[in-house]
């Protein structure tokens, strides 16, 4: 923890990294929507982040883990659903904006502190 970066900002940074990983995995799922044998990827960074925050540790910056979806596959062994991927993409995009706004708020606080003479 430094003067400029406190635990909140590290947590937000970690969330942004995890959300951007989820966005990457969603893009991968949609790119492979017609690939035979492809199982959709699911990203989880929340559980690790939650454990670190509730344990009082400074969160580590990590994209989380990617597991393969166990949903039933269709005839070509693919289980990507465009509707659920679209929902995930929308939600991830909005949460990404939210984390960015929160981080921006922290930065503007810092900026106003630096301006005071």
């Amino acid at each position: 923890m430094t003067m400029i970066e406190d635990r909140t900002m590290t947590a937000l940074h970690s969330a942004l990294t995890g959300l951007s990983e989820r966005q990457r995995v969603t893009a991968d799922n949609i790119a492979n929507i017609n690939t035979p044998g492809f199982l959709a990827g699911r990203t989880d960074f929340e559980s690790a982040l939650k454990a670190q925050i509730s344990g009082g540790d400074t969160p580590t910056i990590s994209g989380g883990t990617v597991a393969r979806s166990l949903e039933p596959t269709n005839t070509n062994g693919n289980n990507v659903n465009l509707d659920s991927e679209t929902v995930i993409a929308t939600e991830t995009g909005l949460r990404y904006q939210l984390a960015l706004n929160a981080l921006d708020g922290k930065y503007s606080l810092l900026r106003s502190a630096l301006k005071t003479t």
């Binding site: 942004l16 951007s20 990983e21 966005q23 990457r24 995995v25 969603t26 893009a27 991968d28 949609i30 790119a31 492979n32 929507i33 017609n34 690939t35 035979p36 492809f38 990827g41 994209g63 990617v66 393969r68 465009l82 991927e85 679209t86 993409a89 929308t90 995009g93 990404y96 904006q97 960015l100 981080l103 921006d104 930065y107 503007s108 900026r111």
Partner: protein, 134 residues
């Protein structure tokens, strides 16, 4: 993890689906192409796609190769055709237009889905680039 991963992944998806569209349009445009009975009929082209580094690495999709359908075709009696053999027969490709139209729709929708991902990812990256501007 490379910078702006989602863009290149969705780009690979668009490329794979466009190649699929190309193959389908080639199949449809040759659906009535006759050939001599001594030769193979026009062979349907099917694009094989594969995930890039499935389950690890950056992800994306690639065209792994092309499989050709049967060249057997169906023999049609067309004595006027300049390609007809001594019995007046020519060969037409045995391609099902219904199958091709279904594939056309799948390829088109897949392409659109990937184009939408590029839109979304661009929005998120643009917002991130504004971070700290105040």
């Amino acid at each position: 993890m490379a910078l702006f991963d989602a863009l290149s992944i969705a780009g690979s998806g668009m490329l794979a689906h466009r190649k699929w569209l190309d193959a389908v349009s080639d199949n449809i445009s040759n659906i009535n192409t006759p050939s001599r009975t001594s030769e193979d009929a026009f062979k349907e082209r099917m694009v094989d796609v594969q995930a890039v580094n499935y389950g690890q690495g950056d992800g994306g999709v690639k065209v792994a190769g092309v499989t050709f359908g049967s060249g057997e075709g169906r023999v049609v009696y067309e004595p006027d055709n300049p390609l007809a053999d001594a019995n007046g027969n020519v060969k037409y490709p045995d391609i099902d237009l219904g199958d091709q139209m279904a594939e056309l729709m799948m390829a088109q929708r897949g392409y659109q889905a990937n184009a939408t991902v590029i839109d979304r990812a661009t929005d998120a990256y643009k917002a991130a680039l504004q971070l700290g501007k105040g």
